[in-house]
Each structure stands twice: as structure tokens, then as C-alpha cells.
């Protein structure tokens, strides 16, 4: 239906001789929203002489115009032409589909999925007295897996030693030919392979078994029969010590939001170390209590390649496999799923894995950077794909209630020789400023606020450099001074 132009005629007393009425007209587009009324009136106004404008009969023009528009609009809408629909069935099916996909009532009885039920029950469990038992249970499970892992390593090692000895024996038998040696080695290798496969199968069977058992217990709300209690002692210095400094800042124009900013330099390996291995019970508590909450912890890790299976820092994959992942897919499976979704990733892309068995984080954002970026001290600006990827991460964080986020402060995990002090300061300034900008921007994204932002510096950074970078934080984030007490 096309819009049309009609003329609005109106009569006002004449400009020169008020006793003679003059007729004017004004072209108007129909349909006409009611907001347009003022615009049309202003146009009419500008055509008239002041004398005419303030005459009483002009006041009627507004009313006249209003009525005119109403009736013209009505006529326009009444002449609605039935659109030609080529495939009526298709049209109807699509419309029905829309209702089905958007209305709860039409979406089919929405029974929660197993994951949701498990999540709900688990969340309830860790917020009850049974929290301790949950952790003890999980720890025991983890110990089994860890032992299996160790055993596997030991066994394979022994096998290798044994095979080595056999090879040496063979070689010492002087009349053996090269082909014999080769075939012997091949046989040895296949034994190795089969053994490894068998052991790995054992391990994954155990993992599947643990997972099913645990999930069944939780879902069926059976009690976890565990003995023993937790030692709440934090084991000291199992990890290397690191530097850390915290700040509080209020960001935003006019309306301020409070954020915690922390700058620190633990090794990323410590940061997402396996949850149950070193007796860090408090860490486990935090991770499990918040797992299904609306305040998640996220960690950004840079990955230097674009092949997903190789991407994630090998340590992380290894750590994830140290215990059973009861809540999500086992890490290799998650990576496979990602490859299915996005076979090829390029710098600035991000892939996301979820974890319940690492300290410090529930979600890892693997930010893809090219190898050159990771290896050298490149100069970048705020439009660099990695920075843009960081912004996307912040968006996802806000959308999915990640309220505590750790980002690499220099976009590097290790120091290298070409990372000079001035370079580090420039890079830190760029990253900090961008991060600040994103945090402020996030306030308008309508999601969760990042209440804690951690800036992770390379673990092998010198103390001097760390303190000079830490000193930049209050300047860049305009840290508010401690509360001002007014003297009375």
C-alpha cells in the first residue's frame, strides 16, 4: 500500500483585509503519524502573516487539521489491500512457527532438561549443609582419577624402559639384520600403542562411571555417603608466591558504579590449576557455590594458533583431565564441539570452555591471536583484532553474568627479551585504557556489571616493572581516594 499526498485546505482571515477570508492549502503525506501534526502546523504557520496567526480562527486550524488527518488516515487504513500470498500454507506454517517458538504456552510443555535439573539440585545442595560432603566426594573421585593418571604414566614409563632394554639386547645379538630390527621396533610400538589405548579407555570408563554415579546421586537427591571431613587449612606455598595489588574505583559519568580492580602476576598454570589436587578447599568452595549462580568467574587466555585442538594452552587441557568434569563435557569433547561449530578461527575470534574443576574460573575465554602477535613484541592500537576480541568477551561476560573477569594485562603470558620496559608500559596503558572503556561501555549493555576486573601480568615479570605497571592502575582508572570523612 503506497502512501499518498493529499491537500489540507483551511480558511483564515486575510492578511491585508481581515474581513475577507482566504483559503490556503498544505500538502500532507498520508498515513500521517500524530507526531507530524506539529510539523505541519509549523509549516502552515510560516506561510501566514503574524496578523493571521493570532486571529481566533487560526486556533481552529489545529482542530481542523487534527480531524482531517484522522479521517484521511482512516480512509487510508480502510483501503488495506490484501497482499497477494503465493503460498498460503507456507505463510500459515511460518506464522504458527513464530508463535510456537516465542510463546511459552505454545512451545510444548517445557520440561527442564537433565542438565537443568542437575544444575538446580546441585545448586541447592551446595547451598545446604551438604556442601562439605559434596566437596569430599568430589575430592575422592578426583583422587581416583589422579591415581589412574599416575598409574598410567608409571606403567607406560616402565614399559618403555623394558622395551628399551629388549632393543638393546637385540642389537647386541650381532647377526640381526636391519629389517628384523625394524619389524621388532614396529611390534614394540604397537604394543605400546595398544597398552596406552587400553589404559586410556580404562580412565575414560572410570570418568564416565564417576560422572554418572555422581549425577544420579545428586538428581535423585540421595545422600552422599561419605566419611571424613574437610581440612580447612590452606596449604601454604604449594604455589609460587606472586605480587598483587587491589584498587577500588568508581567509573561512569555522573552516575558512578563501583568496580574492584586487581593487578597480579601468578602463573596462569596456578590460576587454573586443578581444583582438588593441592588441598585448596576454599577455592573449591567458591567455585562450586557460584557455579550455577549469576556471578561467574571468567578468565581470558591467549591462544597462538587457529586449530582449536591445539589451541588451548596444553597445561589447561591436562589440568582439566586430572579429574572428572561432572557438570560439563570433558574438555576434549568441548573442543570437538567447538570445531564442529566453527571449523576455522582467525585472530580476534574467541572460543569458550566451561569448567567446574579448576580453581579461580568457571569459564575460559580462549582469545585467538596469531603466532606473530604471541611471539613478538608487536605494537598494536585499539582497533587490533585482539582488542576487539576482548570487547566481545566483555559483551558475552555481561550477557551471561560473568561478574569477575581476569584478562592478561599485557596480552602476554610470558616475558620475552624484546618486551622492553617502555614497550610494556605502552602496552599496559593501551590494554588498561581499553579495559576501562569497555567496563564503562558495559553499563549500557543491559547485562551484568563486571564488578571485579583482574589484570594478569606475566608471572616472570620483574618486581620493579610490576610496581610501575601497578602504579598506572590508579591513574588510568581514576581510583577514588579512600572515603573522605568530613570533619565536624
Amino acid at each position: 500500500m503506497n502512501s499518498k499526498t493529499v491537500n489540507f485546505h483551511y480558511i483564515v482571515s486575510g492578511a491585508t483585509n481581515p474581513s475577507v477570508s482566504e483559503e490556503y492549502f498544505e500538502p500532507v503525506q498520508i498515513p500521517c503519524e500524530s507526531e507530524e501534526l506539529e510539523k505541519i502546523l509549523s509549516k502552515i504557520n510560516s506561510k501566514l502573516a503574524p496578523v493571521q496567526r493570532f486571529k481566533g480562527d487560526f486556533q481552529n486550524v489545529r482542530e481542523q487539521l487534527k480531524r482531517f488527518l484522522k479521517s484521511e488516515n482512516r480512509e487510508y487504513y480502510d483501503s488495506f489491500q490484501t497482499p497477494v500470498i503465493e503460498n498460503l500454507d507456507d505463510f500459515i506454517v511460518k506464522k504458527e512457527q513464530l508463535y510456537r517458538s516465542e510463546y511459552l504456552a505454545f512451545s510444548g510443555k517445557s520440561t527442564p532438561t537433565d542438565d537443568e535439573i542437575f544444575a538446580q539440585k546441585f545448586h541447592k545442595l551446595v547451598h545446604s549443609d551438604s556442601l562439605e560432603q559434596v566437596i569430599v566426594t568430589k575430592k575422592k573421585y578426583a583422587e581416583v582419577v589422579e591415581r589412574l593418571n599416575c598409574d598410567m604414566g608409571d606403567y607406560l614409563e616402565k614399559l618403555l624402559v623394558k622395551q628399551q632394554e629388549e632393543v638393546e639386547q637385540k642389537i647386541n645379538q650381532s647377526e640381526i639384520s636391519a629389517t628384523d630390527i625394524n619389524s621388532f621396533l614396529t611390534r614394540q610400538f604397537s604394543v605400546q600403542d595398544i597398552t596406552r589405548q587400553k589404559l586410556e579407555a580404562n580412565l575414560s570408563m572410570e570418568i564416565v562411571h564417576q560422572r554418572n554415579e555422581f549425577r544420579n546421586i545428586v538428581t535423585a537427591e540421595r545422600s552422599l555417603n561419605t566419611e571424613g571431613s574437610l581440612e580447612y587449612e590452606q596449604k601454604q606455598d604449594s604455589k609460587s608466591s606472586f605480587f598483587e595489588e587491589s584498587f577500588t574505583t568508581h567509573l561512569g559519568t555522573q552516575l558512578k558504579h563501583m568496580h574492584n580492580i586487581r593487578i597480579l602476576n601468578p602463573d596462569i598454570k596456578d590460576f587454573c590449576s586443578p581444583l582438588y589436587s593441592n588441598g585448596d578447599t576454599l577455592g573449591a568452595l567458591n567455585i562450586l557455590i557460584d557455579l550455577y549462580s549469576n556471578s561467574l568467574c571468567g578468565l581470558v587466555v591467549l591462544t597462538p594458533s587457529s586449530d582449536v585442538s591445539l589451541l588451548a594452552s596444553p597445561n589447561i587441557i591436562q589440568y582439566c583431565n586430572m579429574s572428572t568434569e561432572f557438570h560439563f563435557d570433558q574438555m576434549p569433547q568441548q573442543l570437538t564441539n567447538i570445531t564442529k561449530n566453527a571449523p576455522k578461527l582467525s585472530p580476534g575470534d574467541v572460543f569458550i570452555t566451561k569448567h567446574s574443576n579448576l580453581t579461580q574460573c568457571h569459564i575460559i575465554f580462549h582469545l585467538v591471536a596469531d603466532e606473530h602477535f604471541c611471539r613478538t613484541a608487536e605494537e598494536i592500537n585499539s582497533r587490533h583484532p585482539v582488542i576487539l576480541g576482548l570487547r566481545n568477551i566483555m559483551k558475552i561476560a555481561s550477557q551471561y553474568d560473568v561478574s569477575s573477569l581476569t584478562i592478561p594485562g599485557l596480552l602476554k603470558h610470558d616475558m620475552s627479551e624484546d618486551m622492553t620496559v617502555p614497550w610494556c608500559i605502552r602496552r599496559a596503558e593501551l590494554v588498561f585504557k581499553c579495559a576501562k572503556g569497555f567496563v564503562i561501555e558495559a553499563a549500557s549493555w543491559g547485562g551484568a556489571e563486571v564488578s571485579t576486573l583482574q589484570l594478569l601480568l606475566p608471572h616472570d615479570i620483574s618486581e620493579e616493572l610490576f610496581s610501575s605497571l601497578a602504579a598506572m592502575v590508579p591513574n588510568i582508572f581514576r581510583v577514588s581516594n579512600s572515603k573522605i570523612l568530613v570533619e565536624n
Partner: protein, 809 residues
């Protein structure tokens, strides 16, 4: 308690929906981030609150929360037509009455160019007298014809053929829905009940080209008998509502005039229900709702209780890949965001419990009867403002009191001002401010041209989307449009002025408070500017601003000598930071909720009040400022840290009350009386700029001398001989020629216990030679002595005071 009673006693319900979230990169054509759809809905929805019609449920509140969630609170009263269907269907008179009342509601909406689009029995509420109230009629409009949401709006059963095919803006489609609902009642059946959606649509579309839809429905649904029994006029009415041709279908206003309603006209109209025995329930709904919230009402919690807010743990929903261009892959679609049209009834029992002890008399405060106290503050006024603002009973009294006084405005204006000095209830703030500013709406705003393009449009276009954008009102597209209109109207109404950046911030609080009443917002601004910012918006306002800032510097020296000396020392002059403070009356530097409290007091003071606010801000930042150099100060003020507003208000109020008026004298204000001989007048800008201390008028000096000499310490700089001849009682003589000012130390003056003498007093320096006063007062300030001022026109003026105040030995 029977279920119907509990329904009657509850009046509100909340419903919930989710706005569509923007996908991918979110930047508009102006380079600014796109407005969230929920904010757009929020802005559009506000106007719905103003819709008042006996047959419409009143909208009360719109609450936005994270992840695009919108909660709508509205009146909800009675039982749905769906539930009452079987009680109504056999009574033709009653059906006609419902018919008539729905049609009159539609007529009302049509006048405002609003379409319902989701008219269905579930949304027709019937009270105990079977009066109609339509519920949820605003959804289509507040979502901009469904633009802002992803779900389709409306129940397909009641859709007309053209509506299914995409016609959206015709009220006659609602008439069809009405027709179907009424046909159901008259013929006692349910149209397409529990059908598959696709079959329903096919059925409705099959009516196209049909001459008599009513007959067709009757025969297809096996209702021919009932159809034939229908009286002719009713049959005719239904047929005309259910014609496929839009031109022939009735308009709502034509339904009302239809012959079927001719008889018994009175009977069809809305009958007022009897007054409720509980006085609380007779209050206006928005007041009850406001009190309900104060009494701990929590809409979120009620919705959660009804399981209308369902939360899946976010970790189960995350995508697993996010590409550089912001596309998220592998995210699970959450069930929580689907549209669910159920509602949660908000129980009033908490509020009733809170207010049950209040005697019915207190619902009617008598403000003109001195024998009946109308003030039920119970000493609450001594508690901090935040507590008062959240106290249900206190606010109850305040709202009722102000409401009553506002009804008597303008004759009650003085009472309003007096009561506002205690505090202003947030619920009525916009109207109270307008009353304090002497605003009397007269319809003039409509006549002001707000659309003709002008030169300032571009600047306004740039400023509006940057003005207090954290706020939902001001960041919504409707808020932008309104602010733009207000600014343009102000510029048109003041040809002598220009638009200075900052006017947008100045307008923001008024728009925020009167979002649905642009005229009130405009007139408040119109009155506010000359009261506090006279001539600030001249094209060349430099003289005005310079005078203002010099006055500010002088008063800072008066109240905060140490700080002032430090700032002067590092050359950090007010021009560097205070212009946006005063030009926008602080509305540019603080968030709205703080401005409101600040302005509550500002409104009651005169044009000098803002100066004291400025000083109290400096006071709060004092420790930081004293330890900062020039650069740090600039940085600090470029993004002002959080200021504790309550302290700021208390301090500025105190300074405002204790500082003699003439100290803040400025030439550039609108003045009603001419300055007299003993007032300050004819000061040039150069004079003000060259003097560190403010001048006091002879009038104020004499007042202090007569009425509170204990607060005054006159310092006479004339020679000892002259002093012994004529002097002011209680004055100290420090002959200027005898002192050395090189050492900034009070003890160098050689007067024992001078510190003690000056304490807590207003120090007025005078002499025969004005230059001496300037030098000496500056010396005092540099010694850190507060409250130093100089007598305007010096000692000589004191000769002229009658009766004589000079003594001689």
C-alpha cells in the same frame, strides 16, 4: 475469606516480557551505541500511565532490569470475562452492557491513535458490578507495534482476516475482536477453542469474500438456533462488527451510537462501585502503589513466587564461539525469555498491615483549620532524609498533605513552600517544584513552535543523546524527543538568549520528574532560569559569569580561607572548573538522584544558594585539594568524585543561613527593589575581581550589631586617635599604619588572644581608606581566619546611620 473478596482487595498485577536484544555490533547511524529495546519500551510506555478511563485498567509502573526484562505493573481488578463466561452468557442485557463499555474504551483509545491488538476475554476484567476494565491493552503500543519484541502480539482466535495478513494500525481490527468475543457470548460457544493455530488461521482467512460472517460462523459452529433467536438489532450490530470489508465495518464510536444500545442508555454506562470501607483503597491507585512499594512491596519477588521469572543458570547457556564480528555460535536458546502472558497478583496485605493504625481522619488533613493539626511528622523530621523517604507512614502523611495543598494551589503556595522546607515527598516532587517556582499551566506550551528548524538544532542534536544517558527516561527515544522539544521551545520562547551547552542538563531534572507533562517541565524550566541563572544564557555572558565566579572565589575565601589561599597559590581559579557547576546548577556534574535532593533545597533559597553548594563541594574535597597541585586538581575536577549529597545539602544550607545576604550581592540578578543607600550597589567587575574578601552592606552590619553582636567582631583600621573619638561598640582597633603584614601570622599584630576574639565571629574590617581594608582582609585570610568581610563604603557610611550607632569616649 472467599476468593472473590481477596481479589477485590488486591488491585494490582504484574506481568513480564522480554524485549528483543540487538544482535551483533550495536552502533546507530550517529555513531552512538543503539538504545536497548527495553529502554525504548520503557520510554514509550510512560505515556500509558497518563491514560485514564473508567473502562481501562490504569498502568502504574514499568520496571526494567538486566537482560532486557520488562515488568509492567497495572491495575487489576475483578474477574476475567473468560472465567465469568458462563455467568454472563445467558443475560443479553449484561452482554450488551459489556459490549458498550468495551466500545467506549476503544473509542477513547482511538482518539489517542492507539490500537489494542490483543483484545481477548482474558484481558477483559469484570468487577462485582460487571463493569468492564480492559487489561494489558498497551502492550502493542509500548512495543512500537511489536517492533521491540520478538514475540507476536495478540491471540490469533480473535484476529480479523486483515490482521492476520499484516494490517496493523486499524482500530477496526479491534472491533472485529470485540465482535467475535460478543458473538461467543450471544451464541454461547467458543470460537476455535483449543484449535491448532494453523487451523484457526485457515478458518479466519476462509471468511474472506463472505457476505455474512456471523451467519457463516453460526452455521459452521452449529449455532443456527441461537443465531435465529437473536433480536434483530443485536444481529445487525454483530454483523457490522464482523464484516470482512473494512469500509463497512463499524468504528468504535459508531458502535456506541448503534440502535441496539438506544434503550436503557443509562444502564450501559459505567457504574461507580460503592466507596470502599477501607479508606486506603479509596486513594488514587498510583498513590496506593507508591505506598505499597515503600511498605516493602517487591514486584520481582512476587513474580518469582508465581514462577513467572524463571532463571536458567547462565553457565548452561553460553555460546562456545564468538567471532570477531560479534556473532555468537552454539548458544542455547533459553526458555526463560519466552513470552508468558500469565500475571502475578500483588497482595496489599503488607501495606494494609502497616497503615491499619492510621485513623481515618488522617486521610483528610485539614490545612485551613488551625484547631486540627495536620502535621503528623512525629519528630521524624529530625531523622536523615533517606530514612524519611523510605518510611511508609511518614510518606503517607506527607503525600496526603501535599496532595491536598496542591489541589488548593496557587492559593496555598506559601503553605507548600513552608512544608517543603521540611522535605519534599518524592512522589509529588515535580508538582511541588512547579508550585515553588510559581508555575501556573495555561496551555501556552502548545502554542510554542517546537519544530521549525533553527541554527541551534545541530548542537541540540549532539547534546541530547549525551545527557544523563544512564537514566532510562532520558536515554529512551521518547525521552530524546521530549528533551529536544523542550529545548527548542525554550530557545523559541527566549529570543534574547541563545542555547548554551548545559541547558540540556538543566532541563533534564524537570523532564525526568514530569515525563508525561511536558508543559509543566517547560514552565518549571522557564521560571527556574531567571530565578537562578539570570542572563547566563546571553550570547555574550562573560560579564555575568565572571561576576558570578569572582563572587564564588570571595565566598570561598570567606568560608574556607586556608583552601582559598591554597587554590589561589597554585592558580587554580574557578574559571577552570566551576562554570559547568553554575551554568547547569550542578545538573551536569551529579547523577539525577543527587540533583533532586540538592534542588529540593535550592528551590527554596534565592539566587545565592548555588554559591554555597559550590563551597560545600570544595569543603568535601578539601583534604585532597590541599595536598594536590594544579595538574591533580584539574584531573580531579574533570571527573568529579562521588560527593556525599546529604552532607553537601546540610552544609550549604547552614552557610546560606549564616552568611549575611549582602556578602553574596551580585549586580546581575533580576531585582524587584532598587538598592538603597545602605545596600551594596554600583560595584564594577574589576572591583570585585581585585578584592579577595566580600563586602558587607551597612544594613547587614547594623543588623548584626543590633541583634546579634555576639556574632560580630568589627575591626577598625583607623588611627588610634580617630578611634578614641568615634568607635563602634565591641570593635577592635588595629591601626593600619602600625602593623606589618609581611609575616603571615596573627601574632605579629601584637594583640593578645586575637585568635580567641575572632573565633566564631563575622569579622568586618573597615577604615577610611578602602585600600587598607583590602590589604588587611587579605592578610587575615592568608593567616587562615574565616568569615572576613569588608564594610562597603567604609567607616564614613556609619556616620549616616540613624539612630546613631557610634560611640565616643
Amino acid at each position: 475469606m472467599s476468593p472473590s473478596v481477596s481479589l477485590i482487595s488486591s488491585k494490582f498485577a504484574a506481568s513480564i516480557f522480554y524485549a528483543k536484544s540487538h544482535q551483533g555490533e550495536t552502533c546507530g547511524s550517529n555513531g552512538l551505541p543503539l538504545t536497548l529495546n527495553s529502554i525504548a519500551v520503557f520510554g514509550r510506555a510512560q505515556s500509558m500511565k497518563a491514560l485514564k478511563h473508567p473502562n481501562l485498567c490504569q498502568y502504574l509502573d514499568f520496571i526494567r532490569s538486566k537482560h532486557e526484562r520488562m515488568i509492567v505493573v497495572s491495575e487489576y481488578h475483578g474477574t476475567t470475562l473468560e472465567e465469568k463466561f458462563h455467568m454472563i452468557k445467558n443475560n443479553q442485557q449484561n452482554i450488551l452492557r459489556i459490549f458498550h463499555q468495551i466500545a467506549s474504551a476503544l473509542t477513547f483509545l482511538d482518539e489517542k491513535d492507539l490500537i489494542v491488538h490483543n483484545l481477548e476475554p482474558k484481558h477483559i476484567l469484570l468487577d462485582e458490578l460487571n463493569n468492564v476494565k480492559i487489561f494489558n491493552y498497551g502492550l502493542f503500543n509500548m512495543t512500537n507495534c511489536g517492533e521491540y519484541v520478538s514475540f507476536p502480539i495478540g491471540n490469533l482466535c480473535y484476529f480479523s482476516p486483515e490482521r492476520i495478513l499484516g494490517s496493523t494500525k486499524n482500530i477496526k481490527s479491534d472491533v472485529w475482536s470485540l465482535g467475535i468475543m460478543m458473538t461467543e457470548l450471544f451464541l454461547d460457544f467458543k470460537f476455535c477453542d483449543n484449535w491448532k493455530l494453523s487451523n484457526t488461521m485457515r478458518k479466519i482467512l476462509s471468511f474472506q469474500g463472505c457476505e455474512n460472517v456471523l451467519q457463516k460462523i453460526a452455521s459452521e459452529f452449529d449455532r443456527t438456533n441461537e443465531y435465529e433467536k437473536l433480536p434483530k438489532d443485536i444481529r445487525n450490530l454483530l454483523e457490522k462488527c464482523l464484516t470482512v470489508s473494512l469500509k463497512d465495518r463499524l468504528l468504535p464510536e459508531e458502535i456506541i451510537d448503534h440502535e441496539a444500545f438506544r434503550e436503557n442508555l443509562e444502564f450501559h454506562l459505567y457504574t461507580n462501585p460503592p466507596k470502599n470501607k477501607e479508606s486506603l483503597l479509596n486513594l488514587p491507585l498510583d498513590q496506593i502503589y507508591h505506598l505499597w512499594m515503600l511498605a516493602g512491596g517487591d514486584v520481582h519477588a512476587e513474580l518469582k513466587k508465581e514462577r513467572l521469572i524463571r532463571c536458567e543458570p547462565p553457565i548452561l547457556l553460553t555460546p562456545n564461539v564468538v567471532t570477531l564480528d560479534g556473532k555468537a555460535l552454539g548458544a542455547k536458546k533459553s526458555q526463560s525469555y519466552l513470552y508468558d502472558d500469565r500475571i502475578a497478583i500483588l497482595s496489599l496485605s503488607n501495606l494494609k498491615e502497616r497503615l491499619k493504625k492510621i485513623s481515618p481522619l488522617r486521610y483528610f488533613p485539614l490545612i485551613h483549620t488551625p484547631s486540627c493539626p495536620y502535621n503528623y511528622n512525629n519528630g521524624m523530621e529530625k531523622l536523615p532524609l533517606v530514612i524519611r523517604e523510605r518510611d511508609t507512614e511518614y510518606q503517607f502523611h506527607r503525600i496526603l498533605l501535599f496532595d491536598r495543598m496542591l489541589k488548593g494551589y496557587p492559593s496555598t503556595r506559601d503553605m507548600i513552600v513552608k512544608e517543603a522546607q521540611t522535605d519534599i515527598p518524592p512522589f509529588l516532587r515535580g508538582k511541588i517544584w512547579a508550585a515553588i517556582l510559581d508555575v501556573i499551566p495555561n496551555g501556552s506550551y502548545t502554542g510554542i513552535d517546537k519544530v521549525t528548524p533553527t541554527q541551534t538544532d545541530r548542537q541540540i542534536e549532539v547534546d541530547v543523546p549525551r545527557c544523563h544517558q544512564y537514566d532510562e527516561y532520558l536515554s529512551s527515544p521518547d525521552g530524546h524527543r521530549k528533551l529536544k522539544r523542550l529545548l527548542k521551545a525554550w530557545v523559541t520562547a527566549h529570543p534574547q538568549y541563545v542555547y548554551w551547552q548545559g541547558l540540556d542538563s538543566l532541563t533534564a531534572p524537570f523532564l525526568y520528574l514530569n515525563f508525561n507533562d511536558e508543559e509543566l517541565a517547560f514552565l518549571s524550566l522557564y521560571k527556574f532560569v531567571p530565578k537562578y541563572l539570570q542572563w547566563f544564557f546571553l550570547k555574550d555572558n562573560s560579564a555575568v559569569i565572571k561576576e558570578y565566579l569572582s563572587k564564588f572565589a570571595q565566598l570561598t575565601a570567606y568560608h574556607e580561607p586556608v583552601l582559598s589561599t591554597h587554590l589561589v597559590g597554585i592558580n587554580f581559579i574557578p574559571e577552570l572548573f566551576a562554570i559547568p557547576w553554575f551554568l547547569t546548577m550542578f545538573s551536569h556534574v551529579f547523577p539525577l538522584h543527587k540533583i533532586l535532593h540538592l534542588w529540593d533545597k535550592l528551590m527554596l533559597g534565592d539566587n545565592s544558594y548555588p554559591l554555597f553548594i559550590g563551597i560545600s563541594i570544595l569543603k568535601q574535597l578539601r583534604p585532597t585539594l590541599l595536598s594536590s597541585g594544579f595538574n591533580e586538581c584539574i584531573l580531579l575536577f574533570s571527573d568529579l568524585p562521588d560527593i556525599v549529597m546529604e552532607n553537601c545539602v546540610v552544609q550549604s544550607q547552614e552557610m546560606y543561613e549564616t552568611t549575611p545576604k549582602s556578602l553574596s550581592h551580585r549586580e546581575h540578578i533580576s531585582r524587584e527593589e532598587k538598592a538603597g543607600e545602605w545596600d551594596i550597589s554600583d560595584l564594577t567587575l574589576d572591583q570585585i575581581q581585585s578584592e579577595l574578601c566580600p563586602r558587607i552592606s551597612a544594613n547587614d552590619f547594623v543588623d548584626l550589631l543590633r541583634y546579634s553582636p555576639e556574632r560580630l567582631c568589627p575591626v577598625d583600621l583607623r588611627g588610634a586617635l580617630e578611634f578614641s573619638r568615634l568607635y563602634i561598640e565591641g570593635s577592635i582597633n588595629i591601626p593600619f599604619t602600625s602593623v606589618s603584614l609581611s609575616e603571615k601570622n596573627l601574632e605579629s599584630l601584637g594583640i593578645p588572644d586575637l585568635n580567641k576574639i575572632l573565633e566564631e565571629r563575622i569579622i568586618v574590617v573597615y577604615s577610611n581608606l578602602h585600600e587598607n581594608c583590602i590589604l588587611f582582609s587579605k592578610f587575615l585570610v592568608e593567616c587562615g581566619v574565616p568569615r572576613v568581610c569588608v564594610l562597603h563604603k567604609g567607616f564614613d557610611i556609619l556616620h549616616t546611620i540613624v539612630p546613631n550607632i557610634l560611640l565616643s569616649k
